[in-house]
C-alpha cells in the first residue's frame, strides 16, 4: 500500500519538476515548485520524519513561494 502511495507521489513530483523547469509561464513554474515541495513533505512523513515534514511544509512550500511571488510582482511593477 505504501509502495503504491510512494509511486503515485513520485510520478506527481516528476510531473511537477517538469513543469517547474519547462513551463513558459513563471507563475506556473513557481506553483509547480511549491507542489514539489509539498509532495516532498508527504514523502518525509512516509520516511518517519514528522519534524522535517513540518519544516518543509511551512518553509519550503509556503514562505518560499511567497518570496518568489513577491519578487515576480516587483519585476512586473518595474516593467510597467
Amino acid at each position: 500500500m505504501l509502495i503504491v502511495l510512494a509511486s503515485v507521489l513520485g510520478i506527481a513530483s516528476m510531473v511537477g519538476a517538469y513543469f517547474a523547469i519547462h513551463s513558459k509561464s513563471l507563475t506556473v513554474a513557481i506553483i509547480a515548485t511549491g507542489v514539489v515541495s509539498l509532495i516532498s513533505s508527504i514523502l518525509f512523513l512516509l520516511l518517519a520524519a514528522p519534524d522535517v515534514a513540518m519544516t518543509e511544509a511551512s518553509i519550503g512550500s509556503a514562505l518560499t513561494s511567497a518570496i518568489f511571488f513577491l519578487t515576480l510582482n516587483k519585476i512586473r511593477q518595474t516593467n510597467g
Binding site: 516528476m14 516532498s40 514523502l43 520524519a49 518553509i59 519585476i75
Partner: protein, 115 residues
C-alpha cells in the same frame, strides 16, 4: 518503499542540475536550485531510514514499536531547509537588484566580467 523514495530524491537532484544548466531565465535557475535542495534533503532523510521504524519520539506510542529511525540526518535536514530559505531569498534579492539595473532576466545579458 524507501527505494522508490531515494529514487525520487536522486531524480529531483538531476532535474535540478539540468534546470540550473539549461535555463536562461534567472528565476528559473533559482527554481532549479530549489529543486536540487529538495532532492538532496529527501536523499539524506532516506539514508537514515530503518525498515519498520517509527519517528524518534520516545513516548508510549513509540515504545510499543520499539524501533526508531536515525535522528541525526533529520536534525541536519531541519537546519538545511531553513538555510535553503535564506539562500533562496538572498538570490532573489540579487535578481531584483540586477533587474533594476538592466531590465533583463536573461543570464546571458550579464557579461560585465567578460571582454
Amino acid at each position: 518503499m524507501e527505494y522508490i523514495i531515494i529514487t525520487i530524491g536522486f531524480a529531483l537532484t538531476i532535474f535540478g542540475l539540468y534546470g540550473i544548466l539549461s535555463q536562461k531565465n534567472m528565476i528559473k535557475i533559482i527554481i532549479g536550485f530549489s529543486l536540487f535542495t529538495t532532492g538532496i534533503n529527501i536523499v539524506m532523510v532516506a539514508i537514515g531510514f530503518i525498515r519498520g521504524g517509527t519517528a524518534p519520539i520516545l513516548d508510549e506510542a513509540g515504545k510499543e514499536i520499539g524501533k526508531y529511525v536515525d535522528p541525526l540526518p533529520q536534525a541536519l535536514v531541519l537546519t538545511s531547509i531553513v538555510i535553503g530559505l535564506g539562500v533562496t531569498a538572498l538570490m532573489l534579492a540579487y535578481v531584483m537588484k540586477l533587474y533594476q539595473d538592466k531590465k533583463s532576466l536573461n543570464i546571458n545579458d550579464y557579461k560585465d566580467l567578460k571582454w
